[in-house]
């Protein structure tokens, strides 16, 4: 019996530990306003308070904490990207994730399962080797492996040469992990609130007040707040909020769907991804299979589920795991993903001097939660964009200095 649970069993009264403070009125002025109480916004608030001593900070959300993409993604963490800039960034994220349960005193159920990106074509094999070589060069553990090694790591996979898309090899990334997505947001929220950061749920930003090229305040459904600096971290609504702030983003917003199966006894350890078959799957500690596929092929600001998503996903998934044909879907849902032209995020400065952006996370935002929060906090606190984030500047699209990460996207887009 772990020690951490003893107090619950031995206490006469439930030793409650409030994760989120009770509702309170908005103050008229904050040093920093963070728009969006998802993982990214909460992480930024936490590091602002912890590392930079900035505690006159509030985090606003139109819904409930982590109710957007933080609570809708498939909770995969990895650093096996393609561009050196991306690999360095996500490697720091993985390092932070590993320590996060201790850091936040909250178990985020971080489980290193290993991540297999299957290659079914020689083009995919080449991309896998490219990623492996870049990863290794930058100290990230990744390897191109053959079918025998795949069979050892995931014996239940269909590795028949007679398959429609026979598996030829895989990019194996041992640090690939899954975690409990909500717990990360909740953990950051509590740790930030403990240091004095205010969390305001059901507080929708309805306007951004500007003077010249500076932001002076934020209008909400609960009143106007003045602030010295502001950060927007509202995946799925980035372009709409940017429009309120008066600038445009090179973002197309599309639904990204996922589903889980009914819980099964454990049979799948690694995270398995197939780009040719447009699917990825992992098994949670609870036993559910968490599955996703390609983004929907049309722009939409709606978290709408479709039947055809499931049909294509399952048709593909059963190619890899034919024995799952009688397993049942528990539920399906959708998030909305902000896709950038180069499949890399946007972090840092905006056309407004004291308004910062954390956007364009497409299908890879969850896995950046700690590093993005930490480095955006640094940006807000110092006013200077750290080197790690510079390649991700919004301005790169004006000069076409793009960071092509399409090759490292989990599945086709």
């Amino acid at each position: 019996m772990p020690i951490g649970l003893l107090k619950y069993g031995l206490a006469r009264r439930y030793p409650a530990r409030r994760q989120f403070p009770p509702e309170r009125p908005l103050k008229p002025v904050y040093d920093i306003v963070i728009i969006g109480a998802g993982g990214h916004g909460l992480a930024a608030a936490y590091y602002l308070a912890k590392q930079w001593g900035l505690r006159n900070v509030c985090v606003l959300d139109k819904g409930w904490i982590a109710g957007g993409n933080t609570g809708r993604n498939t909770a995969i963490v990895r650093a096996n990207y393609l561009t050196p800039e991306g690999v360095r960034f996500y490697a720091e994220s993985v390092a932070l994730f590993r320590e996060l349960s201790q850091e936040l005193d909250f178990n985020i159920l971080y489980s290193e399962r290993g991540h297999l990106t299957l290659a079914h074509t020689d083009a995919a094999l080449r991309t896998a080797r490219w990623r492996a070589e870049v990863n290794k060069h930058l100290g990230v553990s990744s390897e191109l492996i053959g079918v025998d090694e795949i069979r050892r790591l995931c014996p239940v996979l269909n590795l028949s040469e007679e398959a429609r898309y026979p598996v030829l090899g895989a990019l194996y990334h041992p640090p690939g992990a899954i975690a409990r997505h909500d717990a990360i947001a909740w953990g950051y929220a509590r740790a930030a609130a403990d240091m004095g950061v205010e969390l305001h749920q059901h507080t929708e930003v309805t306007g951004i007040r500007r003077q010249g090229d500076r932001v002076v305040g934020v209008e909400t459904n609960r009143g106007v707040i003045s602030c010295a600096r502001a950060l927007q971290a509202v995946a799925g609504s980035s372009s709409r909020l940017a429009a309120l702030a008066g600038f445009r983003l090179p973002i197309v917003t599309v639904p990204l769907q996922a589903c889980v199966s009914q819980p099964l006894q454990p049979f799948l350890d690694p995270i398995v991804v197939s780009a040719s078959l447009h699917c990825y799957v992992s098994q949670t500690p609870r036993g559910e299979l968490v599955m996703g596929g390609a983004v929907d092929g049309y722009p939409l600001y709606q978290q709408r589920s479709t039947l055809d998503f499931k049909e294509t996903l399952m048709s593909d998934l059963l190619e890899l795991f034919p024995f799952l044909s009688e397993v049942k879907v528990l539920r399906q849902w959708a998030g909305i993903a902000d896709m950038t032209p180069d499949f890399s995020p946007v972090m840092g400065e905006t056309p407004l001097a004291n308004y910062y952006i954390d956007a364009g996370w497409g299908t890879w935002g969850f896995k950046a939660t700690p590093v993005c929060g930490k480095r955006m906090a640094e940006t807000l606190a110092t006013g200077a964009v750290p080197d790690l984030l510079r390649p991700f500047a919004l301005q790169r699209f004006d000069s076409f200095r793009q960071l092509g990460e399409r090759g490292a996207a989990a599945v086709g887009h």
């Binding site: 772990p2 951490g4 409930w64 349960s101 201790q102 070589e133 998934l317 190619e319 049942k328 879907v329």
Partner: protein, 950 residues
């Protein structure tokens, strides 16, 4: 046996015994039994162990609404035992057994306990996770199972009706009467819904009579297609339904939709409310009337409505002794059924509620108390059955999926549907019309409304008003200091768990759901959402209406992966020459959806070398049918080609071809091909195999904006292609043609002609991809095989040999030709790839021009160069090995091969721009971090002057 005589058991066939096994023991049920009812008839009550506490669970709803009835059936996990019909020889087992000791430690396992522990020391979770994983998962999968067969049925309807109870049947009839084509989907094997098992009247006769009458009318109506045992699992945008019927997925688009899905009885919450023997009143009635099973010997009924007395009457008639009827309501509430029960002398205890059930593996007694402030004296009733009839909630999943919301209505102390989208109508109990008569009338009205929405013009009809009387008790929750008072059975969430989660700050219903995992189990809150909302509202001192309900998400019911996958078509494209390749022993490789010969023979190295040498010395044939081919015709054809490609083609003479590049708007390379001019207003444009579909889409997308006067025709599948390459290519072709001059003068390099070879019409292109004299013959796909065979026969004396993609890759690399996608990536510009000459920046516009202009103003970051190895005997690098300089990545190898004719390793790589001059050495990081020296070598590596292609 607990089997009741006729007339009980309207679904079972007493003449057809069915043998099956459960947990290793043999049992016999009757045709028409569910697994659970057959086991109940055999006295088996425990079907499963619960998720967290491993407590025994049995039938609760008898309608598939909780995880406690999930069992393993053969290789199928998570089957609702109370829904699945038994079949001869079926092997059923429990997902889990044992482990109930954990229940004693539940004090140490509070809500969200796994967030609070197991992570110190840092490797703690690595130790604990496998232990926890092994304990929790429900069903089992067998990796050796080949998978089941599933298929799909596509249907359309003017009006689809979901639910075959009185409202649904009446709706289907009313809609069909207007002329609408109706599809009626009913989850159960027989029409009638609650009429078959409920007791709408004191005499207990009316339900069956009405079901028979409506059922017969529906069967007699030719415009109604009836699908029974069909569970509607999803209701998507624009009335797009998915339904599961056996191994089939039904996909149905309806002009209008009537949801008559009924209501679902809800449990009361008290200590041990999960014990086998505690069940919903409707569950007891289903067992009795549908399956002829006696659910217990001595029963207590806890009720807050008149229907509970119907349960009591049914139980009495089934020979179950009534220990007491606990009516949560004070005083003397009205009701025909209550009157009948009182008349029969059934023991009614008014204003009393169950506060605990006693028993370890099943109910043995029920403790009850008064509901007033004092609570009154405790009472104890010995019983092995406790039926709960304290309220219901609309079976509204599909409506919510369609866009409606569940709003709490304090007047009925329950949820009510609001905001149904256009064309979707609710009828019957889901719409708060609880009596059979009201449901039937409501269904009739809804059927007409739906028909009207579908374009038919029936007489409008007034809907009956919603019943004022509510079956719901406003707070049927009786927390117990010792716990085990379950709010959510799926995940063993108790009242204390909900209270503790709230003190932990999870105050929004969606946060409460995620933290407690309430409503996140297999039943998605069907039996817990209402009580959870009540608890949350009371704790926060808010009206329940302000709390809302957690959102049920699709699917509803048992939707298997196989249902969704169907027959799982993964299309394969084969060229017209595929049989010939097979006959020659080709080893195929995937190229997009196509299969292409990689090489011919069993030994790759030997075969590829021989194929390459055949092209150099004699003549080879390669199937290039997979290349995209597009005819661009019309007055604006030159303009279209100019805009779409980077190069300049305005002055290209008819009969000539030119290499063409395609960029995206960011100026990155996306494809290359040949742009051939057949006539002043007729271009034939090729695209690479992998990009062809995307290029066609892109052409149409741009044309939709440009609106030029051109026609674009995709000939990719219509034309097959054979490339005849090698010094003897002319010798092979010349005797086979009358109207094509294949001489160097008649068809020069990069020329195109139309003519015939062996009377087969061809477009013949003189191309240079493989570095020898080559004719690309584009021919109608249906004639390609004949041409191929003819060329092979005619070329026998010349040493002709088919060659595959592997040989082609070596041949093209010798010439330094790039493959877009292999030698380029998502950001490569023509300048980086050394293809600046194929870009006509002087043109006013082409796709990507603006971006290229901006990018041209920036320093070049890399260059694609040819290379050879400093040590010719060194092991070659692999494609995508990195080019490094002082620890930095400056590029990568994109192509590498051993050239048999040059007998050396050649390749293409990205290097830093200052390394790009021929003769400069650079370093490649190869296996195990070793460094390999390479030298920039200007391609073509082979025949740089192009003499062999004249």
């Amino acid at each position: 046996m607990n089997r009741l005589p006729e007339p009980f058991g309207c679904l079972i066939d007493r003449s057809r015994p069915v043998r099956f096994r459960f947990d290793g023991l043999a049992y016999t049920g009757l045709a028409g039994d569910s697994i659970a009812s057959a086991l109940a008839a055999n006295g088996v009550r425990v079907l499963s162990s619960s998720f967290k506490h491993r407590r025994p669970r049995g039938i609760y709803s008898a309608a598939g609404h909780e995880a406690g009835v999930l069992v393993q059936v053969n290789q199928e996990p998570s089957v609702a035992a109370d829904e699945r019909a038994i079949a001869e020889g079926m092997t059923v087992s429990r997902h889990h057994k044992g482990g109930r000791w954990i229940e004693r430690f539940d004090r140490f396992l509070p809500v969200g306990f796994y967030y609070r522990a197991f992570f110190r020391p840092a490797f703690g979770w690595r130790l604990w996770e496998p232990i926890i994983r092994r304990r929790v998962g429900h069903g089992r999968v067998d990796p050796g199972f080949a998978g089941g067969e599933h298929d799909k049925l596509h249907l359309h309807a003017d009006v689809a009706v979901v639910g075959g109870g009185p409202a649904g049947l009446a709706a289907a009839l009313a809609a069909a009467e207007t002329g609408a084509e109706v599809v009626l989907l009913h989850r159960r094997p027989r029409l009638g819904g609650g009429l078959l098992w409920g007791r709408p009247d004191a005499a207990g006769q009316h339900g069956g009579d009405l079901a028979a009458q409506l059922g017969a009318a529906v069967l007699a109506e030719p415009r109604i297609r009836i699908l029974t045992a069909a569970t509607v699992t999803g209701c998507f945008a624009d009335r797009w339904l998915s339904a599961v019927q056996g191994a089939r997925l039904i996909k149905l688009r309806a002009r209008a939709l009537v949801l008559a899905s009924g209501q679902r009885e809800q449990p009361a919450v008290f200590r041990n409310n999960d014990l086998p023997g505690v069940m919903l009143g409707s569950a007891a009635q289903r067992l009795i009337r549908l399956h002829g099973v006696k659910p217990g010997r001595r029963a207590v009924v806890a009720t807050a409505n008149d229907a509970g007395y119907g349960v009591a009457l049914d139980l009495e008639e089934a020979g179950v002794e009534l220990a007491g009827i606990l009516d949560l309501r004070p005083g003397h509430p009205p009701g025909d059924l209550r009157q009948a029960a009182a008349h029969r002398g059934l023991p009614i205890l008014q204003g009393r509620a169950p506060v605990a059930a006693e028993g370890r593996d099943a109910v043995q007694a029920v403790l009850h108390a008064g509901l007033d402030e004092a609570g009154g004296e405790r009472g104890r009733l010995a019983a092995d059955l406790l039926c709960l009839s304290v309220g219901g909630t609309p079976a509204a999943e599909l409506a919510v999926q369609a866009g409606a919301t569940l709003a709490y209505d304090p007047d009925v102390a329950g949820f009510r549907l609001t905001g149904l989208p256009e064309g979707v109508f609710a009828a019957g109990a889901v719409d708060r019309r609880f009596t059979a008569q009201a449901a039937e009338a409501d269904g009739k009205a809804a059927g007409r409304e739906a028909a009207r929405a579908a374009g038919f013009v029936p007489q409008p009809m007034h809907r009956p008003t919603a019943t004022a009387a509510t079956p719901n008790h406003p707070f049927p929750i009786f927390p117990h200091p010792e716990g085990k008072d379950y709010v959510d059975f799926d995940h063993d969430v108790t009242v204390a768990d909900v209270a503790n989660a709230l003190t932990d700050g999870f105050e929004h219903i969606e946060l409460l759901k995620r933290y407690t995992t309430l409503a996140m189990g297999p039943s998605q809150g069907r039996l817990s959402a209402l009580n959870a909302a009540r608890l949350l509202a009371r704790a926060r001192n808010l009206p329940v209406a302000a709390v809302g309900a957690p959102n049920p998400r699709p699917p509803f019911g048992e939707e298997c992966f196989g249902h969704l996958a169907g027959r799982g078509h993964h299309p394969v494209r084969r060229s017209a020459l595929h049989p010939a390749h097979q006959a020659r022993g080709a080893k195929f490789m995937p190229a997009g959806l196509w299969l292409r010969p990689a090489y011919y023979g069993s030994d790759a190295e030997v075969a590829v070398r021989a194929e390459v040498m055949a092209v150099h010395h004699d003549v080879g044939l390669i199937d290039v049918s997979t290349l995209g081919g597009f005819d661009i015709r019309g007055p604006d054809a030159p303009e279209f080609v100019e805009r779409f490609h980077t190069g300049s083609f305005r002055k290209l003479a008819p009969g000539r071809c030119r290499y063409g590049l395609v960029c995206d708007v960011a100026g990155s390379l996306i494809d290359d091909g040949m742009v051939c001019r057949l006539a002043p207003e007729h271009f034939y444009v090729t695209a690479t195999t992998g990009a062809a579909d995307g290029i066609y889409r892109s052409m149409l997308w741009w044309q939709a904006q440009w609106r030029l006067d051109v026609d674009i025709t995709n000939l990719t599948s219509a034309l097959a292609g054979i490339s005849v390459a090698g010094p003897k290519a002319r010798d092979l072709l010349a005797p086979l043609t009358r109207d094509l001059d294949v001489s160097a003068a008649g068809l020069p390099f990069v020329g195109i002609r139309e003519g015939h070879i062996a009377d087969i019409p061809v477009r013949a292109l003189r191309t240079g991809f493989v570095g020898e004299v080559a004719f690309e013959l584009h021919v109608p796909a249906g004639m390609a095989l004949a041409l191929w065979e003819m060329l092979l026969t005619a070329g026998e004396r010349l040493g002709v040999r088919p060659f595959g993609v592997e040989a082609q890759r070596i041949l093209r690399l010798q010439k330094g030709h790039i493959i877009i996608g292999q030698d380029t990536d998502a950001n490569t510009t023509p300048a980086e790839a050394g293809l600046a000459l194929a870009v006509a920046m002087a043109k006013p516009y082409f796709v990507g021009r603006r971006a290229l202009e901006i990018r041209a103003g920036q320093p070049l970051e890399r260059r694609l160069v040819g290379f050879t190895l400093a040590d010719p005997l060194a092991a070659p690098p692999s494609e995508c090995h990195l080019v490094v300089r002082q620890g930095d990545i400056v590029g990568r190898v994109t192509s590498v091969a051993h050239s048999p004719v040059l007998n050396q390793t050649i390749g293409l790589a990205y290097v830093a721009p200052d390394q790009a001059e021929p003769g400069i050495a650079f370093t490649i990081k190869v296996r195990a971090g070793r460094l390999l020296n390479a030298v920039v070598t200007k391609p073509p590596f082979y025949d740089p002057a192009g003499a062999r292609q004249a």
